[in-house]
């Protein structure tokens, strides 16, 4: 690893140590904040995961765990959405942001006290909402569509959480600016920080929007103002969707980070990778109406403009990364000597390293399943076939779990030795965890999508329609789909428990790593000049992206043909 030159001027001293692995200077205050936020995230992942398991066991028709208590199911479903989508992911992202500014830039985190205030607000908000949800005062799902009413404390909790997160994001910007002023790094921002910067920019607009969406909802729940249901939906998704783009930008940054630390990959072309991140900022904030494609009150041109013109240019950004990252890995591996055939570089990759396997699994699941189904289900007319069916959870588990969650888990396996300086307890478990978790997840994803394609609704305790005014029967295959998802639930729950177990035990009981010692056994890459690296060809990654394009096209064409068969509607 290249030796980092120390900054020339050091206007403000801070307590730090030197990382034995990367040579980076680590601000102790930032280190503690990162570890605390990440550990808190994992607590919420555990809570949300237990909920997920109970939901999955309920929707498995042969088990129907909570069928007799639908009220409890809807509480848990709301809790699952909130704890996973908001708390697990955003606490982890705050940790990631602090890492990307303070640690990667060799800098100090500005105003660590304020960072603790932000943390406190987020915890209070999250705990408050959770309590209200578990008490049954807010069974409205994370989307909380007005006029389905929750206790005012539910909205207040979310507002506090968003304000806390907003402060954290502002500290990220401040740290980047101060780091530059204090000469902590030279030249342009490193790519990982640049990617996180795009995440942070989207986060500011999103969190502000979140406050602007929830404050009216809060006032409305107190009876102080009126709120139009469709206006709420529009507002909600104009933040709800960009929020997923924060996850996307953060996840892609982590891919670059993990690809680098595990196989020494460097971006093929920094210019192009940065351009792709910029596309996210420019276009994704608009791409929110694909949640409202079959809603009344929104014009067709706006629907098309918003989903396609705006969203598809962000999709272009993702397609660029889809080549850049495998390409960077391939180049690094070829330089190391794995040059045989198209795919020796991939076969000889460090599959036993959970950082690498998580990164690759996340990339493939997000790209091949999440990306393709997301874009296709978000197609204006195709959405008629999928809106609010079980296919939607199928899709979102492939993006936000297969992609984001698995990437976050993978980077945790490195954060613990790098920042907490502890070895993993149960490294063998960690080695198999990404495979077990993602294997179960595949069952969940395809089971849910299959049931959804046969019409099974989402957000429903069971699909038996017992006691309903009109009897309902789904094709037998729909039950098979739900059962497959049920089997997946068990496998993924085991994988999830393995992750939480390894992470928590390692944080507290892992063997101490000596000061200044590298955690990497082998030196990742023979030195080679930047000029030479630039010339390495990556035919394997090139073939992979075209395979991806074929899958994408098939998913799309398949859906269009299916659409052509349903009832004419206009």
């Amino acid at each position: 690893m290249a030796q980092q030159t120390l900054p020339m001027r050091r206007p403000v001293e801070f307590l730090s140590r030197v990382c034995g692995t990367t040579g980076l200077r680590i601000d102790i205050a930032a280190q503690n904040l990162i570890l605390t936020n990440a550990a808190t995230a994992i607590v919420f992942l555990l809570l949300g995961g237990i909920m997920g398991m109970l939901l999955g066991l309920t929707r498995w028709p042969e088990i129907s765990l909570l069928s007799s208590v639908p009220d409890i199911y809807y509480r848990f479903l709301t809790a699952h959405g909130m704890n996973m989508l908001l708390y697990w992911i955003i606490f982890f992202e705050v940790a990631g942001l602090y890492f990307g500014c303070a640690i990667v830039l060799n800098a100090r985190l500005v105003m660590p006290k304020l960072a603790w205030v932000a943390y406190g607000l987020m915890v209070i908000g999250a705990v408050m909402s959770n309590i209200v949800v578990f008490m049954g005062e807010a069974s409205v799902m994370f989307s909380a569509y007005v006029p389905l009413k929750a206790s005012p404390l539910f909205y207040l909790g979310t507002i506090l959480f968003a304000v806390g997160a907003l402060i954290a994001v502002i500290l990220f910007f401040a740290t980047v600016v101060v780091a530059k002023a204090e000469g902590r790094y030279k030249g342009s921002l490193p790519l990982v920080t640049f990617g996180l910067l795009t995440a942070a920019i989207i986060a500011v607009t999103t969190l502000l929007g979140g406050v602007l969406t929830y404050v009216p909802a809060f006032l409305w729940s107190l009876g102080l103002m009126n709120l139009d249901p469709e206006v709420y939906r529009l507002n909600f998704w104009s933040i709800g969707h960009p929020a997923q783009q924060i996850n996307l930008a953060a996840m892609v940054s982590i891919w670059y980070f993990l690809a680098h630390i595990t196989v020494g990959a460097k971006p093929l072309n920094e210019k192009l990778s940065r351009f792709a991140f910029v596309l996210y900022i420019l276009f994704i904030n608009l791409g929110s109406v694909h949640h409202l494609l079959v809603d009344p009150g929104i014009s067709i041109p706006f629907k098309i403009f918003n989903t396609s013109y705006a969203m598809y240019l962000a999709v272009l950004g993702s397609m660029i990364h889809a080549f850049s990252i495998p390409g960077a890995i391939e180049a690094a591996q070829r330089i190391r000597g794995y040059t045989k055939g198209l795919f020796q570089w991939l076969i000889k990759a460090p599959w036993g390293d959970p950082g690498f396997s998580s990164m690759w699994i996340s990339l493939v699941m997000f790209g091949f399943i999440g990306g393709t189904t997301g874009v296709v289900m978000g197609h204006e007319q195709i959405n008629i076939l999928h809106h609010n069916t079980m296919s939607i959870p199928g899709h979102l588990h492939s993006t936000v779990v297969g992609g984001t969650t698995i990437a976050f888990m993978g980077v945790t396996y490195y954060l613990i030795p790098l920042l907490a300086r502890r070895r993993l307890v149960g490294a063998v478990l960690a080695k198999y965890q990404p495979y077990i978790y993602s294997f179960g997840l595949l069952f969940i994803i395809f089971g849910q999508m299959g049931a959804g394609a046969l019409g099974v609704p989402r957000r429903i305790v069971d699909a038996f329609y017992e006691g309903a005014p009109i009897e309902v029967a789904f094709p037998a295959l729909a039950d098979t789909g739900l059962s497959i998802a049920g089997i997946g639930t068990i496998i993924a729950s085991i994988g999830g428990a393995m992750f939480v177990g390894v992470a928590v035990l390692s944080l507290f009981f892992g063997k101490r790593i000596e000061e200044g010692k590298s955690i990497l056994e082998k030196q990742p890459e023979p030195s080679i000049s930047a000029e030479e690296r630039h010339k390495v060809k990556v035919p394997g990654a090139f073939v992979l992206v075209f395979v991806f394009l074929v899958v994408f096209t098939l998913v799309w064409i398949g859906n269009m043909l299916w659409l052509g068969k349903v009832w004419p509607v206009n």
Partner: protein
């Protein structure tokens, strides 16, 4: 290196493979974009563009008027109506679809759907077509059922504790 500042070469021209992939992707997303307006012009399944503002009270009144006028029977206490082609109405409310519509195959109807209380999801099965039902908005779906038979209408937007019991029916006669 992604965690270090970029090296000098980063402004070098983009490699051939990357350029090819970029332009292929670009064309792909543009084709995807164009497919939406084109589908509007050439195909029959499009998201409905017509909707009106209506208060839940007014819509409920319209539906009960409509039901009285065309009722031909009832099932489990839910009225069955057989209206002529043209404007027809369906009300979603916790946790029922009102009334049961009896339509004729191949005729074109303007189906007005709205809600008396919260958001609901209009989902015709097993055709599997899905639309959002929002209180305060009268959403007009122009439909032409091509097959005869009995179809169920489910609610697929969470609407409260009885959400999983909210079913209705649509009958299409030859």
């Amino acid at each position: 290196m992604p965690i270090h500042s970029p090296e000098k070469v980063w402004w070098k021209p983009i490699g051939r493979q990357e350029r090819i992939w970029f332009w292929v992707s670009f064309v792909f997303v543009i084709v995807m974009f164009i497919s939406m307006p084109i589908w509007h012009l050439l195909a029959d399944q499009n998201t409905p563009h017509l909707s009106y503002r209506v208060t839940p009270e007014r819509f409920t009144a319209i539906v009960s008027e409509f039901t009285k006028r065309y009722q031909v029977g009832s099932e489990n206490g839910i009225p069955i109506v057989h209206p002529p082609a043209g404007e027809i109405y369906l009300l979603a409310r916790q946790y029922q679809w009102m009334p049961i519509l009896e339509l004729e195959k191949g005729k074109t109807y303007h189906l007005h759907v709205s809600s008396a209380d919260v958001n609901h999801g209009f989902s015709i099965q097993p055709v599997n077509m899905n639309f959002q039902v929002v209180p305060g908005y009268d959403y007009v779906l122009e439909i032409t059922p091509p097959d005869a038979g009995e179809f169920t209408i489910l609610c697929n937007e969470f609407c409260g504790i009885g959400h999983h019991k909210m079913s209705g029916k649509l009958i299409v006669k030859e």
